[in-house]
Symmetry: C2
Subunit: 456 residues, 2 copies
């Protein structure tokens, strides 16, 4: 009864952090064996997480004690995303060894987390990849997400045969919620749920307990669309077809994993750190962040150029310089608020039937209302601070104008990108804050120049 | 054979948008009946989405034709989050009627999406809420996420009895992946998967196909921790206990829903738009955004005050004003990149065993490296543009310093908040950009004042 051996229990993040600390201290003291004993009672997912968090020297010392087979066993039990993060930290020898024994889905996740040079170094030695067609499919498509096993039963058979087919799918059996029904020519004809299989008599025809398929995807369907189908239609597993025939199935846990990965990436893209994880190699962090920082430098010089246009005005009223960050900063925050909301709504498919014009008008109106409040507030503060009513007026007007621009641009940029067929998450933020900076300065210093008599 | 009636197929977002447009046109032309005919063939999730996207007048006209019962049927088929979004748009009469017939979980999701005033108006009339204890549990806890039905079987029974128990759970049967095993005193003693139930003989003792429980939560466990357990340990459904006894179960789809909601909220919090959805009432948008904008106004005045300290320097070298947005803007972007990464890593439990000091040092070092590159670049551009080597030097030094500050603060603020027990997603961004603004100006204008002889 191997299944009744005591399985380790879940622990909290705090407990995990505490054990990680003890393990680190033991290894520092040269006692890797006690460290490994401490870990052995834990769930593989926790061993892996703690392993990933160790300094590389300690990690290597510990792996010496654990044996490579144990490392592979741990990686196998983890979800692919976390396993990838752990494996990316392993030495090349043990990594090659581990990758050879993992499920191709996990191998892909691992390679995805490796710096390109290391992936090239490790990949050619992989035997497991030769036996799979996963590399035939573009990343972020249903083809790359699916497992190639086919949980099917012919539609004219009995429940007993469906059960037999389920039994044969040893690797993924526990992760299935449905078997797909196929007709004479291998075409999809519905599904039966495992729950109904559990309740039916053996001699019942599967047709009698069949339920219709709501969603089917092809190998080329983007992962984002698969995630949307799962969420929108409450689907647990998705059949994937190629040339009209069933080619594989996307399991619920891989759909969940894809959803979370896509969400993470989207959030990071809005903040301009595409696909980086904490604690990876420095060089890969620089490679992902520095290009964005450099592009952003260009946009700040656009803003600088705008300010420079008004040097003579600034020379007359130096105090204007102090208020530059106020107008631009508020616009930036307002624009980002709108942008975040719209990008998210697009990704979740919430904008069906809601016209772009209506959204633009709504956000512009919100900007106007916010602008009235903030404009009055900022005008009053500036008057009290600098005893200069003209300055207050100029500042208030610029604030009002820039908040309207922030709302319009914050909604307009992602909506325009969507219409143009570009993922609106990428680089929208840079464009929006460039607009709010440049127009903020233009409005503020422009109005100030026009009413220069009022403020000097 | 009711299950073999043709079930509508999934459609793409583009198709949904097109149908939504046609429906809108038909209703505008006064032909609600044809509009409803067009919708009838669709999956309820799509009817709901299109309904939510219609202008309120058109929606009301269409609902007149559909009958309230159909509306309830549609809401029932949708996932709770989307159903909440749709229901929040309905008139009060039909909303009260609908809520009375929904599952309490969905009712909570709907109320969650309503402005407080409307929720108060609708809630007292709800019969369904009297029969539930869901309101006893704080939102965002396991208690509020669970369904109260108990998918259990006594550990000393046979598979046949487990199947009978499964059959009796009509409402949630199709959503179950496991039955929980309970002992004599109602204590949890393991689980059996529905897959194993489907494969076992009727006279097998359930004990023989039992598998251990990895994670159990109590009614007070935060939803975020439940989502982490699911992801980290690859769990599909979680048992929820209260006082040592099983109180309910969190189903896989509700865990997924919770994960996505928490992710959404986290992302919106980083951008300071807590929990708003596109297209809700204007007043609730203002109520969520304006407080943040006002707080931010305070922080921009801190920045303004910093600039004002150096008015005499600015009066001597007006061109300095043009470069204010360059130093502050770069720091803001760099800080936000780091912040996003760390907040996300904390939420995903990736920081176990990775010391705060190591992360801080890493991000500060990255800031230094980025700062060297950006500093040289900005110095060269400033020299070429303004023919002023002293200005270039000052700008380059300030940029270098501010990028180090951006990295340190971007990592330090969320790590400090986590240690203080505060959710680091809330308001971190405002604090970080305030730091980078204030220190950016202080460094730039301070260095400029010190080397004023070099730049005039």
């Amino acid at each position: 009864m191997e299944r009744e051996t005591a399985q380790p229990q879940a622990i909290s993040l705090d407990e995990a952090a505490q054990i990680a600390g003890e393990v680190k201290d033991l290894i520092k003291a040269g006692d890797e064996h006690s460290a490994w004993e401490l870990l052995q009672g834990l769930h593989p997912a926790d061993i892996g997480t703690i392993l990933a968090g160790l300094p590389s020297k300690s990690r290597d010392a510990l792996i010496q004690v654990m044996s490579p087979d144990t490392v592979v066993w741990i990686l196998r039990q983890m979800n692919p995303v976390e396993a990838g993060r752990v494996a990316a930290r392993l030495g090349s020898n043990i990594l090659s060894f581990a990758l050879d024994q993992l499920h191709p889905r996990q191998v892909l996740a691992v390679l995805d987390h490796l710096p390109i040079l290391r992936a090239r170094e490790v990949a050619p030695s992989l035997e497991s990849l030769e036996s799979t067609e996963l590399f035939d499919y573009a990343p972020d498509t249903a083809g790359a997400l699916m497992v190639g096993q086919l949980p099917t039963v012919r539609i004219d058979r009995l429940v007993s045969e469906a059960r037999e087919n389920l039994r044969l799918l040893e690797d993924i059996r526990q992760k299935l919620t449905h078997l797909f029904l196929v007709g004479d020519d291998g075409e999809l004809a519905g599904q039966v749920s495992v729950v109904d299989l559990a309740l039916a008599e053996s001699d019942t025809p599967v047709r009698a307990i069949a339920s219709p398929l709501v969603a089917t995807v092809t190998v080329d369907t983007p992962a984002r669309e698969c995630a949307r189908l799962q969420r929108h239609y409450n689907v647990t597993q998705l059949p994937v077809t190629q040339g009209g025939r069933l080619a594989g199935v996307i399991l619920a846990e891989h759909l969940l994993g894809a959803t979370i990965e896509l969400d993470t990436r989207q959030m990071q893209q809005v903040a301009n750190v595409p696909g980086e994880t904490v604690g990876g190699p420095l060089l890969s962090s620089i490679r992902t962040r520095l290009p964005w920082l450099t592009i952003n430098l260009g946009t700040t010089f656009l803003a600088a150029g705008t300010v420079a246009l008004f040097e003579s005005t600034l020379a007359q009223v130096v105090v204007l310089a102090a208020f530059l960050p106020v107008v631009a900063g508020q616009g930036g925050i307002g624009g980002t608020q709108t942008l975040t909301l719209i990008v998210r709504a697009i990704a979740l498919g919430e904008l069906v039937g809601i016209g772009a014009r209506r959204l633009l008008a709504r956000e512009a109106l919100l900007g106007l209302l916010h602008g009235v409040w903030l404009g009055v507030l900022v005008a009053v503060i500036a008057m009290l601070w600098k005893q200069n009513p003209g300055l207050g007026l100029v500042l208030g007007l610029a604030m009002l104008g820039n908040m309207v621009i922030a709302g319009t641009v914050g909604a307009g940029v992602p909506l325009f990108l969507r219409r143009a067929g570009v993922d609106p998450a990428v680089s929208s933020a840079v464009v929006v804050t460039t607009f709010t900076d440049v127009f903020g300065f233009l409005l503020f210093l422009g109005i100030a120049s026009a009413f220069i008599g009022l403020i000097t």
